[in-house]
Amino acid sequence: MFTVRSSILKTLISSNFSKFKYFSTLNNEIKVCIVGGGAAGFYSSQYLLKHLPNTQIDVIEKLPVPFGLVRYGVAPDHPEVKNVINTFNKTAQHPNFKYYGNVSLGKEVTLDELRKAYNIVVLSYGSEIDTLLNISGEDKKNFMSAREFVGWYNGTPGLEELNPDLSGEEVILIGNGNVAIDVARILLTPVDILKKTDITEYSIEALSRSKVKKVYMVGRRGPLQAAFTIAELREMLKIPNVQTIWRSADFEGITSDTVTSLPRPKKRITELMLKSLQEAPKASSDDKQFLPIFFRSPIQINGDSQVESIDFSHTVLKNDRAIATNDVEKITGQLVCRSIGYKATSVDPSINFDDKNGRVVNKHGRVLMKDSTEIDKGLYVAGWLGTGPSGVILTTMNNAFQISQTIIDDIKNGELNCDEKKPGFDYSKFRAVTWDDWKKIDEKEVECGKKLDKPREKIVSVDEMLKLI
């Protein structure tokens, strides 16, 4: 048993030597703790297990159940998107992978404890807080974040009590990203379609009593700056018995010349919007309406205790930024969801956290020391916690792969020394949920779903989950 200093080794390996041959000369098991069992956590695990031999990975997850936003964010009527879970399941089968659910960083364990117990810690606990509008009235009843509304229909523990009041006819969504579109689609899609998905039973019950007929989706900037992507828009245009109604004034100045000069993705989505605008809606009084609105920025939320309307100022674009003018438009809505972005929070005082931008301070995934430009060796950040909350699962996957490769490069280049034998952490003192335990919860959910003719019925209460194991 001996360990070779990496610098010597580097000179020893000829250029055609594969990284595997290099790493196989290290005798120590490299112990890695990944904090957060969402997409970033699973993709990091997958990459490290494949490309860094002799790794033992422990994933700790706040909830008993894994997959983060793939389970609790991705819309129930998009089951195909959740196919990534099959890959996560394969990763979890790896003999060097262990899952500890119901263990939170900052609650059961501290970062300092994890740093002592592992050679490498990867923070990937996502961004859970949503950005406020910071105008008066955000605390009114039936004013909520889109993220909460999504959590409600998707069964996020703690949000089952949200009870959005769907007795009004108009809903306003502030922000026009794909999450806003998800909310609009769930509110407008016929319940008969939704009830065959893994949407929670209580929300199906509420949605079947819903009186919502119009969903406004309001963006500060123009159609060319819209945040939603084309597949999501195309899907909206195809919902049965729903008309999409645009405001032609919003498209003033967007000519076929401007469109042709756009890069392909922007070009195609703008063409789709224009095509939809030009198709006169086949008005049927029973139809529900989806109403995208541009160039409006919220300034005031009106209503007594419950929200009744929002005042928006008209905006104009200057250098791609929305500048408010003095013109104001009031839009009525009895339910309002804010969907203008998220922030992460610091869950442990020793994390070097950027409160302003809501993410861990890092350089290419390497976490920096507090008040310094120096790298905190052995500590990394992956996924939304490091990049900020934008992009799809694919973006998160690429980021997780990249950061895992950075870890491997750091070891290879001698920047990160993993020679020290680390003990790992003993989670037996907590009520930690293992992968086999999760499988029991999973089976129960699928079984309950069968009775209702859906892929699964999620168990929402953490206590109930824990009772199954």
């Binding site: 195909e80 195309r234 195809k238 392909r264 690429n398 490769q405």
Partner: protein, 151 residues
Amino acid sequence: MIRIINSRIISCVSKQLTKPIGAQLSRSLCTNVPKPQKEEVQVTFVRANGERVQSKGKVGDSLLDVVVNNSLDFDGFGACEGTLTCSTCHLILSQADYDKLPDKPSDEELDMLDLAYDLADTSRLGCQICLEKSMNGLEVKVPATVNDARS
């Protein structure tokens, strides 16, 4: 739910199947199709770093099937398993091969390609290209991934 209706998978399979296709459409349809003769088609995948990966598929297989069935090592390839909800099986063809393909990409495929990295005019999703005898010797480029970007 609306998205499950995957026109390309239907057209790809309907060439060989006369009976109607059930509600559950997935990538496996392409491989589960009974094939009278199992004709093999050679495909070469060329990584961004120039490395050539030779492999074989059967008539009716999609290019994603070829990657999966031969366990080709492209990290993250085919994340949504051929359901047209991601762009991880993005491949780039030569202009000549692109033009020869029997089907043009559907709007839904183009929508996904719009989100792909390194998008080219001859980009396609591997899950939407089904092998035919005439494609023997096809060469496709696998766009750069972190794996190749590494020096």
